[in-house]
Amino acid sequence: MLPIRLACYGLRSVAANCKRINIGALSQITRKFSSDERPQFPGSRSQWTEKLEFIRPDLYDGIPVYRVMDRKGKVIDPSQDPQLSQEMVIKMYKCMTQLNTMDRILYESQRQGRISFYMTNYGEEGTHIGSAAALDPKDLIFGQYREAGTLMWRGFTLDQFMNQCYGNMEDGGKGKQMPVHYGSKDLNFVTISSPLGTQMPQAVGAAYSYKRAQNGLCVMCYFGEGTSSEGDAHAALNFSATLDCPVIFFCRNNGYAISTPSKEQYRGDGIAGRGPAYGMLTIRVDGNDVFAVYNATAKARQVALNEMRPVLIEAMTYRIGHHSTSDDSTAYRSVDEVRYWDERDHPISRLRNYMLSKGWWGDVQEKEWKENCKRQVMTAFARAEKKLKPNWKEIFTDVYHEMPSHITEQLKQMEEHVQKYAEHYPLKNFSKD
């Protein structure tokens, strides 16, 4: 009796709740302390360990790359074939090839001094078309700068692309920005801006707005693996998860940020490796496999909307072209490396092989489409080049919703100046309206 009472006394000094101590209650006391089995820190999900063990970041293989087709365009597991209609698949193919053709013409036009700047999408057409096809046309897209195919899929015309690149009076952006800084309200594509990653937390805020509006739409946010190093990327991933936003983060990991290869961009398991750390659903896919991209995006959209949570897709691909017309990538990578991707793992060839295997395409259609496509691009190009630039007074518009007096004052001053020194300004290229 006494020893038990003494033992119980020691326990009582610790357990404030214990009122009566008897031998039967000892086991109850032990059970009350089962909370001792797990750490009690706020937000903790962990168990205890008495082993001094650091987690090695390279202990496991990276997150696997989901694919549907092999590099030759043959479906590996038929259950993963999204079974898209012939019409849809041909539309995908035509969109990718038209993008490719437009890129060639516009890149060349910069070389010839007709437009000031251009960025091609070579090798990444699959990431654009595969993902855009799986979205609702009203889902809001925030891009980085290498997603022209998503706009093309949605119906941005060749004229619209060219007008923006030429900055002419029909540019929706009113000649304010460099080429490839497209935007479209009708097609729900937010105007591109040059600073990298800024679109990411914006996409999260937009998704939150959509959630509150209960409009059944999600937000799609594209960015490159280089951009994922920006602070805004971290901010966006964290906010999206903590605030339960229906946003899909789509990373185009194309191996290079201008000249910086991905092994100099990060040391961990790419961008997908970060997703779970932020508490979000994550997948890595073969970006050159249009069907894999399509499937992942379709599923991501479903989850984002049904569960009101963000999803991260890392699409592995390769930037076949230079970063832009201001870049010559032979300075930092071998021609052989580029040729490998162009010839052995290209989203367009892989899809074409799939179409051929289904009997949906052939040499005759290929030739016909190629010519047709080139002709359409060339005529749009010629049209865009001929158009005047917007009236120079557009400099002063849209700074604010309404033009404040100090800007009006500056406009008037410049009007007087231009009138006086007209012959020194390229007025004939600019619209008078």
Partner: protein
């Protein structure tokens, strides 16, 4: 009209008033914004429990967790999130906990928010974004709890920058900013949160942005300030009257961008002398813009150089705050110099 009649008339026009300090007036303004606009949301660090300065007390309880909520600790995220929310149709009211910490959000504010409408040819805008932040000296804030960063943002076309001097103005100006179709920065002088108390109209009202207030009419010299400094300058007006027999015209600029050059210029054309005072450092402080513009527009009216009394070109020190501030004695001395030029 008797005093009683005047009071009656004011009550008829203004309606019922309530004694409120600055944070209460701001709280009231935010409450009205959320009550009148179902898309309005308030977010930032610690806003859910009421905010470190109590500006958002009671708002989550009243309007719900989806409308008043905490974000993770990340100013660039708060600003970016706000821009996106505004672009997608919400009235987004962001709080940055101290103006000193607004700098990580500079890229989002100046490269993005300010330029959203312009660069998209008007297709997209984030006009329904307002960012609020406590600013200015509080007595002991030192480098990172005392800054007045209005000049950084004044240099960024596309933004509006507003600084209230008290509860009545703050309530109306904040509501105007929230409803304004341009991204607005609303800097609230934190020392006034408790110390500025007024009888604030209870009803909903707005006050015009970009319109300076002439608080005291005078003939000899124009004094311009904003926020806390307006109250310092008011004392300077009295000192000048008592000790120098000088009649000062006191103007609260109210809005830093776009600023009301017209009212200042008109005043200076009358008085011929201008003193600008602000807590922010001298070089490239907003006083520099006012001085450059006014000397241009009022050159022949000026009787003396334009004077600026400001914080020094140093970071904001802790122990030495009484020496750093553009206090009434430095301002008074400047008035003396100008009238005797």
């Amino acid at each position: 009209m008797t005093a009683a009649e005047k009071k009656e008339m004011l009550r008829a026009v203004i309606g019922e008033t309530q004694r409120m300090n600055l944070f209460q007036a701001i709280n009231n303004s935010l409450d009205l914004a959320l009550s009148s606009d179902p898309t309005a949301i308030i977010f930032g660090e610690d806003v859910a429990f009421g905010g470190v300065f109590r500006c958002t007390v009671g708002l989550q309880e009243k309007h719900g967790k989806s409308r008043v909520f905490n974000t993770p600790l990340c100013e660039q995220g708060i600003a970016g999130f706000g821009i996106g929310a505004a672009t997608a149709g919400a009235t987004a009211i962001a709080e940055i906990q101290f103006a000193d910490y607004i700098l990580p959000a500079f890229d989002q504010i100046c490269n993005e928010a300010a330029k959203y409408r312009y660069r998209s040819g008007g297709l997209y805008d984030c006009g329904s974004l307002t960012i609020r932040a406590p600013c200015s000296a509080v007595g002991h804030g030192a480098l990172y709890h005392s800054q007045s960063p209005e000049a950084f943002f004044a240099h960024c076309p596309g933004l509006k920058v507003v600084v209230p001097r008290g509860p009545i103005k703050a309530k109306g100006l904040l509501l105007s900013c929230i409803r304004d179709k341009n991204p607005c920065l609303f800097f609230e002088p934190k020392i006034l949160y408790r110390s500025a108390v007024e009888q604030v109209p209870v009803k909903e009202y707005t006050m015009p942005l970009s319109k300076a207030d002439i608080l005291v009419e005078g003939d000899d010299i124009t004094l311009v300030g904003w926020g806390t400094q307006v109250h310092v300058l008011r004392e300077v007006c009295q000192l000048a009257k008592d000790q120098l027999n000088v009649s000062c015209e006191l103007i609260d600029l109210v809005t830093i961008l776009p600023w009301d050059k017209e009212t200042i210029a008109q005043s200076v054309k009358k008085t011929g002398r201008l003193l600008i005072a602000h807590e922010a450092p001298l070089t490239s402080g907003f006083g520099a813009e006012i001085a450059a513009s006014i000397q241009h527009d009022c050159f022949l009216n000026l009787e003396a150089p334009i004077e600026r009394v400001t914080g020094f070109d140093t970071p904001f020190p802790h122990m030495f705050e009484p020496f750093y501030m553009p206090d009434k004695w430095r301002c008074f001395e400047a008035v003396k110099k100008l009238v005797n030029y």
